[in-house]
């Protein structure tokens, strides 16, 4: 009995003369509401857990009367990896060791023993240190303990700073201030789930007051929401995309990527800073339109599409608009054109693989995949590393009968391009439909196929409603 009393006082001395001054002078501790801990004779302390520093920090603000009879809950298998550390921790903090993942009859037994003998327990209800600065859901063990000991007050504590001073991923601590916010002790009655939820709410409330006035870097601008309007030539996609862009621009800034770049802000067109790559693309596009045969059309068209894709990135970087409206999506056009050139070998699987390769998920496709043998262009693009093309966030396809679109093109009175014949446009249309289908099913990108015969007002209204529906949704292709 006498011996144990002696050891206990030595521990107290070490805490008060060594551990506490070190934590306070090296890291710096600002305790808010620390007097709450002095008010109670026995308590269960619950805190968020981000760092190994949490326990020393809590001990550094404990009143002297609590120090030798407070026990944190710690994972044995973690600390027992280093013998010396284990013994030091075991001596200084007298933790209640638990082995994670072990199936035992009553995992709370250690805590119950200590509480029954009048000691305090420190619990981190998140269970693990988790990601720095984030609070995970509380596990219900703490609720069960509160149900078993309804008279022992629970003290919620929020620790701010340990996730920076000694984060989980870092091997060494760093001198940075810590803020320990202690809430008033409370007793709880009710179901264990309700108590756990109430405790989590309490700690979150403490965190809001502590975190609110912390310095933050400027937030990264949100990447623009990209809407692609697809369709064969003469389907009216240029008109539709321009209408959509103008309407979206009423409340935000929109960049329309069509034959040229058009920037809309607050409902009117704004002068855009010229981009060199856009000038190059225009020249290449013009050259492509003069091609006499499909064979001659291929290379310049491919270059034009790649440049157009590059411009999407440039636009996001230089104009940082809220929306990018695309008159034809480079990546999807590229895939659809494969149908024009190799109709017999282009199916949904090949299309999905090609899209995966081109949209930067090259490593998910095997190098020997037959698709590379069938489409040597794809292999060439991969070799040239032109495989970081962008998928849009939403796709709208205007579906028009080839005969109708040929009539429309003729009525414009422009010179017809090589592919603007009825049978080729039919192939292209099938290609677009296939790509849209694949994009929706394989990549989870919202897609809507509209009937191109409707009037522009109806089309624009439907398209805008569709964009609005999908605006807030997360897309997982990034």
């Amino acid at each position: 009995m006498r011996e144990s009393a002696h050891i206990i006082s030595l521990r107290l001395l070490i805490h008060l003369a060594l551990v506490r001054p070190f934590v306070k002078l090296f890291f710096g501790v600002n305790a808010v509401g620390g007097e709450h801990l002095g008010d109670v004779d026995q308590c269960i302390i619950i805190a968020n857990h981000n760092s190994h520093l949490d326990v020393p920090l809590l001990f550094s603000i404990l009143p002297a009367k609590h120090i030798v009879r407070t026990h944190p809950v710690a994972a044995r298998e973690y600390f027992s990896r280093w013998k010396v550390l284990f013994r030091v921790v075991d001596y200084l903090f007298r933790p209640i060791w638990i082995v994670r993942g072990e199936k035992i009859e009553d995992p709370l037994k250690g805590m119950k023993d200590r509480l029954s003998s009048g000691h305090n327990v420190i619990i981190f209800p998140e269970g693990t240190r988790g990601n720095p600065g984030e609070m995970a859901r509380f596990k219900t063990g703490v609720g069960m303990l509160a149900v078993a000991y309804p008279d022992i007050p629970i003290v919620p504590v929020f620790l701010l700073g340990p996730e920076r001073a000694f984060p989980r991923k870092s091997p060494v601590p760093l001198p940075l201030w810590n803020e320990v916010t202690v809430g008033p002790p409370q007793v709880f009655t009710g179901d264990r789930r309700d108590i756990t939820a109430a405790l989590e709410h309490l700690v979150r409330e403490l965190s809001e007051s502590a975190v609110a006035n912390r310095h933050r870097r400027r937030k990264r601008p949100k990447p623009p929401f990209t809407v692609a309007v697809l369709g064969i030539d003469g389907s009216g996609k240029s008109t539709l995309s321009r209408t959509i862009a103008k309407q979206l621009a009423n409340a935000s800034s929109v960049c329309l990527v069509t034959d040229g770049l058009e920037l809309y802000q607050q409902g009117s067109r704004k002068e855009a800073q010229p981009l060199l790559s856009e000038k190059v693309r225009e020249a290449v596009g013009k050259y492509a339109k003069t091609a006499k045969s499909l064979k001659h059309y291929k290379a310049p068209k491919l270059a034009e599409l790649l440049l157009r894709d590059h411009i999407m990135g440039e636009v996001a970087r230089w104009y940082s608009p809220d929306f990018i409206v695309l008159d034809g999506c480079p990546l999807m056009n590229l895939a659809a054109w494969a149908n024009l050139y190799k109709e017999d070998r282009f199916d949904a699987d090949a299309c999905a693989t090609a899209l995966r390769v081109l949209s930067g998920q090259c490593d998910t496709v095997a190098r020997e995949d037959p698709v590379f043998a069938e489409f040597p262009e794809l292999a060439a693009l991969r070799r040239l590393r032109l495989t970081s093309m962008k998928l849009p966030d939403a796709v709208i396809m205007l579906d028009v009968e080839p005969a109708v679109s040929v009539a429309r093109i003729e009525s414009r009175g422009e010179q017809r391009q090589v592919h603007e014949t009825e049978d080729k446009l039919a192939k292209l249309r099938a290609g677009y439909r296939l790509v849209c289908n694949v994009v929706q099913t394989e990549f989870g990108i919202p897609t809507r196929i509209l009937d191109g015969d409707a009037t522009i007002d109806v089309l624009a209204a439907t398209a805008l409603a569709f964009v609005g529906e999908n605006l807030g949704k997360e897309t997982d292709h990034e």
Binding site: V172, R214, R220
Partner: protein, 286 residues
Amino acid sequence: MWSDVRTGAVVAMFVGLSVLALVARTVKVGARVEAYVHYLWTFFLVFTVTEVVSFGVAVWILAPLCFVGLREYFSLLDIRLQDRWGLWGSYLSIPFMIRFIQIDWYGMFIISIPVYAFLVIPFLIALGGKQTEGTVFSIGAIDFGLFLLVYCIGHIGYLAFFSTWMAIMLLLNVAVCDLVAYLLGTWGRPPWTGNVVKYAASMPVTVMLTLALAGWTGIPCTHSLVLGVLIPVLVAVGRYTMVYIELDLGIARDRLVPGRGRMIDSSASSLYAAPIVFHYIRYFLT
């Protein structure tokens, strides 16, 4: 005999400040004044130890002072995980700087931080991880904090090496300006008029103080006059700049809590004055 009087004066001021610090604690004058008194007290501890023991010992008291200021700044900053080695580098540059002051190696002191630390820290940050985004911001913010809260404070230490009384003259002048600003602070004038009023009120006092101390600092009267006119300007400029920095860091002057701006706010007025007065004296008088 003169040196005894001077030493006595330093010790007397130190004792006076110690009493003031105790009074400030009991009377509850507010965290800001209390922190300021502690800041001055630390410097007078340095001066007293210089007079009573030796400068070589005293200058090391500046190391914890720089450490506390830098730690406070880094704690308030939004840092990335991989900047940690850069922060370690910043902390480690403090003892080097102090050592160069101690052995009076001016050439090395003056380049230790702006050349070596500023080049090594970005390298350490780059070594720390693969996240490139935010690197420029981190390097800028870390280097700037090191410059302001270690290098500029270090100049006061080097000034004390030239002459304890030169450093005392600087700190007393800064304290006078701060006192005037504190007394006039509640007037609520627009910033520029306020600054002109504060300057007009503090300049006669600093000129008289500098001239009165001229015998002990060893600064000729002309230069004492110039310094008396110059220091309030530097203090005003420094304070005006530091308000922006403090606000961005989230320091609320009216309720300074531990670890959130006590040291930065207290040292704000000396940060601009220290290096410029130091170089003025070094250029004209040594």
